[in-house]
Subunit: 336 residues, 2 copies
Amino acid sequence: MSAAQIEISEATPLDTLRTYVSSQLSEVDDVIYNLIKSKVKLIPEISVHTIASGGKRLRPMLTLASANMCGYKGSAHIDLAASVEFIHTATLLHDDVVDKSDLRRGVFTANKLWGNKESVLVGDFLLGKAFELMGSASSLEVYRVLSHASGVISEGEVKQLEVTGKIDIEESEYFEVINSKTAELFAAACEIGGVIAGIPEKEVASLRSYGMNLGCAFQIIDDALDYSAKQETLGKNIGDDFREKKVTLPVIIAYKNATGAERKFWQESFDKNTADNPENFNKAILLMQQADAINETIKVARDIAHKANQSLQIFPDSEIRQILLDILEFVVGREF
Amino acid sequence: MSAAQIEISEATPLDTLRTYVSSQLSEVDDVIYNLIKSKVKLIPEISVHTIASGGKRLRPMLTLASANMCGYKGSAHIDLAASVEFIHTATLLHDDVVDKSDLRRGVFTANKLWGNKESVLVGDFLLGKAFELMGSASSLEVYRVLSHASGVISEGEVKQLEVTGKIDIEESEYFEVINSKTAELFAAACEIGGVIAGIPEKEVASLRSYGMNLGCAFQIIDDALDYSAKQETLGKNIGDDFREKKVTLPVIIAYKNATGAERKFWQESFDKNTADNPENFNKAILLMQQADAINETIKVARDIAHKANQSLQIFPDSEIRQILLDILEFVVGREF
């Protein structure tokens, strides 16, 4: 076995996090599987399919880890972690209606198997359950944080629709989209862990900032991988964003550095219906390599991850704080 | 002008209710239009279209009226009424994805104008805002009631999908669907008015029961009108339920009273793709007339409305209580 192979088989920080919270995470799973029981059969069918198809459970683990790091001694973090996962799953189900992507995490999406209406309504069901679960914390602040997040996420998704196909969007618009659609739930997931632990406001804000920047870096890398990952490693189609004309950071960087003729290519790919052509995707990748756009993108993610790291410095050193710091490295270095 | 015409132009109990709460309702509208402002342009566009296209505002008025009847002196009922309307609007937007009905309240649905994904995501945005608004009441119980309702509504919608096309469902399954998808939000809308007023639990339960039975009667009449209304009065397509193979109470009653050959007609209409044939809809109406199914349906609604009436008797007589009682008569007697 070569050194490279050994390295691959080593535990990632994500594995370390999962091990650290494993008993709590299995309680979260119990809550999840208990709540999606319904005499209406389609509900557990679709929910189990979507939840079980291998999500990383990163968001609920952030709630558990944050609560643990802040010394929380109660049990509400279990229900809140499940609530966060339900919000995320509802987003995935509703996103499937949008994206028509055939593969998510390597399996057929619920939408392909059951149709638009089922995906929408089961997503709504999970969202309702998410809000019911929040009750466990008996905290109006938890409700405030998560309901705000829920609105912001949809706002980001709608904004994403609005800028789809617009090759000349500002970088700030891109960040507006990813901060809303992705980073906000990471931020909220961390924040509520601190809220229930009753830590001072300033620390809650730091936790929120950690989650926000982590989520932002996570999405930027996701967007880079859509042009650079090996398909079998990513577990979903690469080139989805290009075909769906989502203008992501690698594209913005490549377009900014493009010559006149290259700009014309980008414009045509995103304005007209030429993005479906596989040759065009290959050309896009080539132009990105020439502009060093993927590396530039990763560099942006690294800078943002560094901010997340700084936010955690307010907390005393601990095993779980170190894991949360390591997660940052993992997120910007991952290939899947 | 004939006596009948004069009667038509008289104020309905719904008008009386609207007049009674008019200044509060205009505050609710201010909250609504303020919250759907977003720099993401599609959000106000779709929201305004859906909210402004002439809904009766019955649900938010129930929250206002309940709070008023219970002597509530604060201002949270305004935000809660807006919250209830947002939940309802989100349901309509998500239902449009399902129903593909061309007309709702006489205008094109958001879905027809903007597409599935926009309807879903703007619905989600409104749902998020609904939960944010609940914060105004600073009441965990309000969150509990409305988040429970939100889950139950979706469960009912999924159940409705499951029984679509099944001509031999039990009456109990029909009631399960309409209690969940419609009556639950009526119940919650009334209940929270009592909760914020701090009335005793028994009275809260009575308010809830009033709302539940009102909503149930409302939906039954809706289902009767889909076979019996004049299209121009109803403001939406009649025959939608038949074409979409929703097995509603008039159908259940007609089927129960049908001869062998007639049962075959009903089975074929709901099992196979023959419900789109306009002649079949005309035949369905004829069979309903023979079975007196519409009158029987209305009779069921009247009995349920009577239960709602009984629930309100626990409250002392007042102008607003009388209006809520009159609303029951209006709901079962309405032609639109």
